[in-house]
Each structure stands twice: as C-alpha cells, then as structure tokens.
C-alpha cells in the first residue's frame, strides 16, 4: 500500500453523556469484543497500510491501554507500525490539539519524514468495513486532490457533513451539520490525499490560524481543489450519542451485520484478552443475544449484548440492554433498555428500566459484599 494512515481519535461528544466520562469515543466497547477504533485500525491493516498514527487527546489513557501493544493489529513491525501522538509541549507550541487539522499539523515533522506518497485519514468513531485500496484507486483514477468517503445516512444526514456531488462524483458543495440537509449523502470522515498536498494545505491553514479539517480545508477549498466523493454502500454507523452507541451494538444482533463484520474476510481484530469460554449454568435462559468470553450466566438474558467477563446472577432479567465488560449483576435484578458501564456492580434485587430512552447505569458498589 502506498499510503500511511492517520486515525483521529482525540474527540469527545457531549451527547455521549457519562459513557465518555473516563474514556475516549474511540475506546468505546462495541459488539461484545471490540473497541470502536478497532474498525478503523483493522481496515488500515487489512488494506496493507503499514504505518499508522493515532492522534489522541480526550481521555487518551483509555486508548493507550487498548493500543499498548501493536501486535494485535499486525503493526508490531520493524519498519512502520503504530504511532500514538498525544499533544506535547514543544518550543514552538504549547497548546492542545485545537482541531482535526491542528492535530495533524502538530505532527507535521513525522508526516514529512514518511515516504508514502498518499495519506488515508480516518476517524476513530466509525463502525464500518472498507478496503482503503479501493478508495485510493478511485482517487488516482479521478485524478482528485482530495477524496472523501461518503454514504447515505437517510434521515440522520443533518447530524453529519452533507455532500453534494455532480454526476462525475466531484463534490460541488459540502455543508457541516446543516439545519436542513439538501441530500442524504454524508461524509463518513475518511479522506485520501497526496501527502505533499496535505502538508501544503496544513501549513497554509496553520499560517492563517485555522485548525479544522472540515471547515478550513474541505469546505474552504471545495471550489479550488478537485474533491471527489467515493460512495460506500455497506454498513456504517458513527458513535457520537448514547442512542447511536446503543443502536450500533444492537445492530450486531442482525444476521447481516454479523455476517459482514464477523464472518466475511478480512477479520476485525482487537486486543486479545485471556478469558475462559462463556459459562451457561443450568438455570439460565439466553435468547437472541451476543455473549462474550468470560461471562457466567445464571438468569435470563434477552435481546442484549454482553461484553467480556459479565456475571449475571440467579433470577435476573436482562432485556434490550448493553452490559459492558466486567459487570457483576447481583441476584434477582431487572435491567431493561439500559447500558451498564463497565466494571460496575449492580446490587441484588436492583431494578433499572429505561422508560423513554436508554438509561446509562454507572454503579460502583463493592461487589464483594454480595458474595
């Protein structure tokens, strides 16, 4: 692959509520065994990109833990590999990443040292599967300056950057989160650009104190540069709200989504944990649910996603819920329409029911009292 990868994983969204109190969005657990960033990272490694920088800022430690070893994504190489760039103070700069463009600008030295002719930029909060080689080939075929990947977001389009393209695929207009979307085609935050051009654009933006990739590069240059849209029609979700997080996890209960991500080659990879197989005890009842290793199940689990190492006590009822890793649920508890934060301890006889919207439960009881 003639491209290097940059994953933007430093952002937060206020609409994630308590879920991002102590972790980055890119570190959100997804589909039982994965973290959000695994999708972008796996796409990179599966596209044979051998040099990847992950730019972190908000709650960076949660990501650092996940990315502690690069070997799980096949990046533990002598040449290239995985680089993690968190803002640092330098003689020229003492600010945080002030935006997506600034985040890359602050690491321009690295970008200049690389030798790959192209750069693939991806955000760390998307759940999708894409061969970036296809995008790169399209980019070269169209003789484009910047190619952005877009998809049809339907009614949700106004939450994203809405793209208008001509018949050739050239982007004629780009509106970030418009009040009313003119089309349902949105940018998914994946860009291909020649490395030298990117350096040029970033240096220009930096001189003008402009820091945002979308506003200050894509929108600003949309008439001057040839920006093309590559249309992706397979599954894509962006995790930026509690609801979208919940829905994305629930989507994995659908056979088509499981087939795309879990069965079809190439695989999505993640850090390996050493939990034993899931254990279904004699009085449990599990239906239409995703279960991960290390779980011990006694009660009823329906239409739910359980991450690793979850304990469900006797006579519990778990319905339509996402239970993150390491949660202990005491006997006789009822949990419906909820997201339970990881490593939480739910006291016995608890009752949590999300009435109109998904409820986020953060319970840090001392579980050893309940044994």
């Amino acid at each position: 692959m003639r491209a290097l990868g940059i994953i933007l994983a430093g952002g937060n969204s206020s609409r994630m509520g308590r879920l991002t109190d102590s972790r980055a969005i890119a570190a959100m657990p997804v589909a039982g065994s994965y973290r959000c960033i695994d999708f972008a990272l796996s796409n990179m490694t599966n596209s044979s990109i051998q040099r990847v920088a992950v730019l972190t800022q908000y709650n960076a430690r949660s990501l650092n833990e996940h990315l502690m070893s690069a070997k799980w994504w096949n990046f533990g190489r002598k040449h290239g590999g995985l680089f993690i760039f968190t803002p640092t103070e330098t003689s020229r700069n003492a600010s945080w990443y002030r935006g997506t463009a600034d985040a890359i600008s602050q690491n321009l030295d690295w970008l200049k040292q690389c030798h790959e002719p192209y750069v693939v930029i991806a955000s760390g909060d998307g759940v999708y599967k894409l061969d970036y080689n296809e995008v790169l080939q399209y980019h070269i075929r169209k003789n484009a300056d910047i190619t952005l990947v877009c998809t049809d977001a339907g009614k949700e389009a106004h939450r994203f950057g809405v793209v208008t393209m001509n018949a050739d695929g050239r982007v004629t207009d780009f509106q970030e989160k418009p009040l009313e979307a003119e089309s349902s085609i949105v940018s998914i935050g994946v860009y291909v650009v020649r490395r030298h051009l990117l350096i040029e654009l970033l240096e220009e933006a930096d001189r003008e104190n402009r820091f945002d990739f979308v506003n200050d590069i894509l929108i600003r240059y949309r008439k001057h540069k040839k920006i093309y849209g590559y249309f992706m029609d397979s599954y894509w979700r962006n995790i930026s709200t509690v609801e979208s997080y919940y829905e994305t996890n629930m989507d994995f209960l659908k056979p088509s989504v499981r087939r795309l991500f879990l069965d079809e080659y190439p695989k999505i990879t993640s850090r390996v944990d050493d939990f034993p197989p899931a254990k279904y005890n004699r009085n449990c009842s599990v239906r239409n649910s995703l279960i991960s290793d290390g779980c011990i199940l006694n009660g009823t689990v329906e239409n739910s996603v359980l991450f690793r190492d979850v304990y469900v006590g006797d006579n519990c009822i778990i319905r339509n819920s996402v239970i993150m890793n390491g949660v202990y649920i005491g006997d006789n508890s009822v949990i419906e329409n909820c997201i339970v934060e990881s490593r939480g301890t739910i006291a016995p006889d608890s009752r949590y029911i999300g009435e109109n919207e998904t409820e986020v439960i953060v319970e840090k009881n001392n579980r050893y009292e309940y044994f």
């Binding site: 499981r258 197989p277 279904y280 005890n281 449990c284 239906r287 649910s289 279960i291 290390g294």
Partner: protein, 423 residues
Amino acid sequence: MIKKEMIAMLLAGGQGSRLGVLTAKVAKPAVAFGGKYRIIDFPLSNCVNSGIDTVGVLTQYQPLKLNTHIGIGIPWDLDRNEGGVTILPPYESNSSSEWYSGTANAIYQNMDYMENYHPEYVLILSGDHIYKMDYQMMLDFHKANRAEVTVSCMQVPMEEASRFGIMIADEQGKITDFEEKPEHPRSNLASMGIYIFSWSALKEALTALKDQPGCDFGKHVLPYCREKGKRLFAYEFSGYWKDVGTLQSYWEANMEMVDILPKFNLYEEFWRFYTNADTIRPQFISADAEVKGSIVSNGAEISGTVQDSVLGANVRVGRGSVITRSIIMQGTVIGENCRIDKAIIGEDAVIGDGVTLGLTGEAPNTVHPNIYGWGLTVLGDKTLIPGNVSIGVNSAVSGITGPGDYRDGRLDAGSYLVREVTL
C-alpha cells in the same frame, strides 16, 4: 552468557493412541480441551504463571498443529529476547540420526539447548495433563531438601495404584524406593511425571545412560539416580490433576467443567490459562436457542438446544438440533434437527441435517473395543457426516463419509468407519 535458574522441558511428542481418531493427525498435547484450549496450554500456562520463561517443547508425532499453535509463544508471553519458547523436534547429526526413543532420550538429545541457559534446575513436564500447579513451590521444596531429584506425586486410590509409578517415601518425603506399575503396590503415592532435577544430576544421568535404548525417566533415570545414592524426594501435590489419556477420562474431565463450581476452575483471576485463540468475535445465541449447563467459546452461533456440553470456537448448531453431554471442537458445523448425545466431535467437522449420534445400540466397538466405549460416539477432525443418518454408540467415524456408508441410513453401535480423505 545467558543464565536461567530453572528452565522447563515439555515433552509433547506422544501420540496418545488411546484417544483414537482424535489423535490421527495431531499429537495428544494439541487435542482441544475445555472449549477454547488445547491440552498443552495447561502445562505451558503453569510455567508462565510460575515465573518460568524458558520452555523447550519437544515434538515428534504429528507436530504441525502444535507448531502453529505455539508459534513464537505470543499468547503465553513467551516471545522473549532471552529464552521464551523453543520447539525442539528430532534432528539429524553427523554421527547419528534418530528419533526420540524415550522421554529421557529426548531430553538427552537436547543437551545443547539446555546448556545454553546454564540452568541450575531443569523441570521436566509432560504435555498431556490438566492441572494447575505452581512449579516455584515445588522448586522451594527441592531446595529446602537439598534434593537432586524431586518427583511430583499425588495420592491415588489404592486400587488404581498399579497403573502408576509408585513412590515409597519417608515422612520427610525422601524417596526410599519406587516401583513402576506394581502388581501389589506398597504405597499410593503416584508419580505425576513431573520432575525437578538439579542440572548436574540430570546431566550425569543422561550422559551415563546415553546408549540405553528407549531411555525413560521412570524406568531408567530414576533407578540410576537411586543406585548412585542421589537425594530423591517426593513432592506431594493435592490439587486437581487429571490424566486425559483415554476417551473416557477426556470426556469426563470436559464434562466436569460445566458444573456450577467446577473442580477445575478456569475462572480464577490469578491463575489464568492462555491459548492461541485466533477468534475474538463474540458468540450469538439465537431466539430459537436454548443453552444450559454448558461452556461455549467465542464465535459460536447457536440456534438449537445445547445442554451439558463443551463447545469450541466458531461452532455452529442449526435450528432444532439437540446436543447433550457432548464435546464439539472448534469450527464444527452441525446442521438442523440433529440429535447428538455423548459424542466427541473433532475440529472442523460437518454434520448434515437430521443426523443422530449416540442414543442407539449398546454393542462394543468391533475393531478397538479398548479405545472406543463407555457409550461415547467419536468423530475425527474434518469428518463429513451426510444428512439423515444415525450412528450408534461406541462408534468411531472419521473422514468424508457418504450416504453409501450407511446401510438403511444407519451405522450400528460399535462401528469403526475411518476414511483417509478428510474435508
């Protein structure tokens, strides 16, 4: 110079012929156990958990699966700059080229490997037991007694003692005598095949016995050490230890894993077992499924009923199928409306729709009654069973079978059907 206090030598070259078709293409240590694991994961994880970071794995019989499983040792954190895991197959030298003819001979042939690490102690392990053991505690015992050889032992029922190497020890644990599979055992202290040798004693014994055909630890090395007046001690171990050398013991040990509080608990946080599980994806239990009293590994998709069973990674169970008291190894696909009881199904097998395994007949196996029995039905790796056939108990089937192999859609109890060609 590299210096390691203790290194481990793990004997993993045995066939384990009493596991029948399960070991047709893989060595016994590579046979799946407990869903996601292979038997060798247990001693290997014990090594790592005991702080031993240098392990030589001696292979001989069908090593491919072991080699790919162990790789450079990443899952056990044995990818080290110094030491780590090394696979040691038999090799040719300019004076001889011989297979490993016995347990001690295999170790002798790897003297150079051990010398590299200048060990003070060498731990000898076999790759076919299921147990949790802190070898460091055994080493403490070895040092405290200024022993030259320490044999790990456990109490077995007196009536079973004649199947083992039996140690006769005094109150301090000093071994005064021992007998290999005695008809009338004088003690019930059975050797577990785990030894710690002080390096000088091991080197001396192996060198002196180098021309001994089939040189074996129990039969030759221990007697040599006793004759030479070495200090031999028995280290008594009282935890869970299971030899899974027969299909019955293999099946029973797996079945114990599904108990509410298993005797052998995989779920303890501070003595984890590690394995090369390339499957990360979670498992899916469909709306039609029922899973009870079972352990299920990653990547499984279950639409049928599974009870009292152990399922490996990526197993598929079709709608309407009912599986009870069975071991299904990784990658196996079971069709719809099957009825499977007390079966052991190898890896990557394909079972057609409407198949019945077990449940019928009671005849002993016609070819290998001493291997197949106990009401178990055993299917080898990559076996294909066509739809709508029934296979009786005490049978063994392996390879690609077609409807023509089943008269009236039936294979009677005690059948032995092994085809060379597999999926």
